[in-house]
């Protein structure tokens, strides 16, 4: 059945109008505000201030460093889980249960979840008491309110996105390709390295982009898990908007974060594209 043109226009138009009203318009308002002073005069002063000393560049650096580590850890944890669910779990029911377990972390609110981690990671928390009982350490290790705790908190909520994206692609890989590799003399490990993994790269690329952008823009987890001792960009931006009411400078920080993120993503895709196996990954 063909959808008539009027209906098609409506079905496309409504989401488009929604996006325009609630995404594009605010976006341009923010971009314009970033090029204005408080009096409304056009100026590059906000950007000059960001680059003026090392404070904001260092926050940017910390933000991207933590996001990159969280993305890598999510990949290292998420890929084997996705592989296990798709290729090892046989029954459909068990697979469904696995997916539910994977997205379980997303069922609770960000704030509750982060406070949960505080209880686990604190000086008297479960992790430290266990380590001390086992005699692995004499004194409680400082885990909470460090960059490590931010990475733990971020990874915990980001792994599901990696798992779901990678599993989606792993599922589409024809099983006969794996058989063909075995048939031609490759063992299980070589088959994975030469066939399964390269073919799952589109999922890895998409998953890491999702995880990375979510990590860069995360606010609640870093602000609770850092105890204010580490500052990431989202916290700085919120501070400008929410506490100091400097909408123009806050806008400049937001645009700066966006631009640097886009540049990094572009570099990442460019790098992947140059790999022979990745070329296929980016195209598909």
């Amino acid at each position: 059945m063909r959808i008539r043109n009027g209906w098609a226009a409506l079905l496309v138009g409504v989401p488009l109008a929604f996006m325009a009203a609630f995404f594009l318009v605010p976006f341009f308002v923010v971009v314009m505000a970033s090029f204005q002073t408080k009096d409304g005069a056009w100026s590059l002063a906000n950007y000059a201030r960001i680059l003026g000393d090392s404070y904001y560049p260092s926050i940017l650096y910390v933000t991207f460093k933590l996001s990159l580590i969280a993305t890598l850890v999510s990949f290292v944890i998420g890929y084997p889980i996705a592989y296990y669910i798709v290729n090892v779990v046989r029954s459909r029911m068990a697979r469904r249960i696995c997916y539910i377990l994977v997205i379980m972390p997303l069922f609770t609110s960000n704030i509750v979840r982060s406070f949960g981690w505080m209880i686990l990671l604190g000086r008297q928390g479960l992790v430290n008491t266990t380590l001390m009982t086992l005699g692995l350490t004499d004194r409680p290790m400082p885990i909470l309110f460090t960059e490590l705790s931010i990475i733990i908190g971020l990874t915990y909520i980001l792994v599901p996105f990696m798992v779901l994206t990678v599993a989606g692609v792993l599922q589409t890989i024809d099983k006969s390709l794996v058989e063909a590799a075995l048939d031609l003399g490759a063992n299980r490990f070589v088959t994975f390295a030469k066939v399964t993994f390269p073919l799952s790269l589109p999922g890895v690329v998409a998953g890491s982009l999702i995880v990375f952008t979510l990590a860069v823009s995360a606010y609640v987890v870093p602000s609770i898990m850092s105890g204010g001792r580490t500052v990431v960009m989202a916290m700085s931006i919120f501070e400008q908007y929410g506490s100091l009411f400097d909408f123009n400078f806050g806008a400049a920080l937001a645009v700066g974060l966006l631009v640097v993120t886009l540049v990094l993503i572009a570099l990442y895709l460019f790098f992947i594209e140059r790999q022979p196996a990745g070329r296929q990954a980016v195209r598909s």
Partner: protein
């Protein structure tokens, strides 16, 4: 036969209560072209996959050149497979696909390159090494899959309905090419197909499979002219299968006919009388020769199928019989509704007791 290069010994495969392969024994000689023929679900693909190593079997063994395959993983068996959907690696070029096997075998780059070139030119694809599989037509992918499977110089090549996805004309061309290639390389081919014509054209021997067992194994001529049982006669070629009863004097009673024929069945037992359509002559008059069996019938329908015509008739005692004649232009003396005499040589009919 004790000189089997590939020996399948009492192979049984069960999935729960379902018996997919039921005590299969089979010998294949070195350099032979064997077709596994049967309808879908008869176990032919399972048997092939068991030889390749993708299916673990419940009982029995498979030996290749005397060596048991029982505990050997697919990557260590001296066989290669051409998969039904070709299973070419989409992220590798044609040359990398063909070189995949030799590379795993630890050959150096120069050696791999020369093997790739040789295999690709064997299948007439030498100019396509740098393409990706997605840039090739179905027939070209088929050739690349073949080149990839012979690159490791396997002792046995397993082919799982490799021509199924090609159109009729290309399929017929590839049948001849495959057969020629097999003779040139001298590799043992085991070829799975549900297409009886494909099996007859290509194979030295055909194993007709039915519900997990081999119903008959033999040359195409044997299976066509001397089927061991009703199932095989019905599966290969067109056949008139007439219900017969063995009379007390050993002759066969088929409807109103009584035919003296050789068979091993006891008096009173049921049998099937096989009559190939091309063995039946259709005339207006009775044939006087004593060697011919004749049966009056009425023509119901005539089908023109290019080189041949098929005549559907009902005999005076109510049996439906199809006869086949070469259609020569201008020769059409028989029309629908004609009263005719169907006749065939005594020796052209065959009694099947199974």
């Amino acid at each position: 036969m004790n000189n089997g290069y590939i020996r399948v010994e009492h192979l049984t495969k069960r999935y729960g209560d379902l018996v997919v392969l039921n005590d299969i024994s089979l010998d294949v000689a070195e350099g032979e072209f064997l077709a596994l023929l049967g309808p879908s679900g008869c176990g032919k693909t399972t048997l092939l996959r068991a030889i390749a190593g993708f299916v673990e079997f419940s009982e029995g063994d498979i030996r290749i050149d005397g060596r048991s395959m029982k505990r050997l993983p697919p990557n260590r068996r001296p066989v290669n497979t051409v998969f039904q959907n070709y299973a070419l690696f989409p992220h590798l070029t044609v040359a990398q696909n063909v070189g995949f096997g030799p590379r795993r075998a630890g050959k150096v780059a120069a050696e791999v390159a020369s093997i790739v070139e040789e295999c690709l030119s064997t299948v007439g694809m030498a100019a396509y090494g740098e393409r990706f599989p997605a840039q090739l037509s179905g027939g070209q992918q088929q050739r690349v899959a073949l080149a990839r499977a012979i690159a490791n110089r396997p002792k046995v090549l397993l082919l799982d309905e490799p021509l199924g996805a090609l159109d009729l004309k290309l399929r017929k061309q590839m049948q001849i090419e495959l057969k020629t290639l097999q003779q040139k390389l001298g590799i043992t081919f085991i070829f799975v197909t549900h297409d009886q014509e494909e099996a007859l054209v290509m194979a030295d021997r055909i194993a007709v499979m039915d519900a997990g067992r081999i119903a008959q194994i033999g040359s195409g001529r044997d299976i066509y002219h001397a089927p061991a049982e009703r199932y095989v006669a019905d599966f290969i070629g067109d056949a008139n299968l007439l219900a017969a009863t063995v009379a007390a004097d050993g002759s066969l009673a088929i409807g109103s006919l009584s035919i003296a024929a050789r068979h091993g069945a006891a008096a009173g037992s049921k049998a099937t009388y096989l009559l190939r359509p091309e063995a039946i002559r259709v005339d207006h008059a009775q044939d006087p020769s004593a060697d011919f069996v004749s049966l009056p019938a009425c023509v119901q329908e005539i089908v023109f199928a290019g080189g041949i015509i098929r005549i559907y008739a009902v005999s005076s005692d109510g049996q439906e019989i199809v006869a086949q004649q070469t259609a020569l232009a201008g020769e059409a003396p028989i029309a629908v509704g004609d009263e005719v005499v169907l006749s065939w040589h005594r020796d052209s009919g065959r009694v099947l007791t199974k």
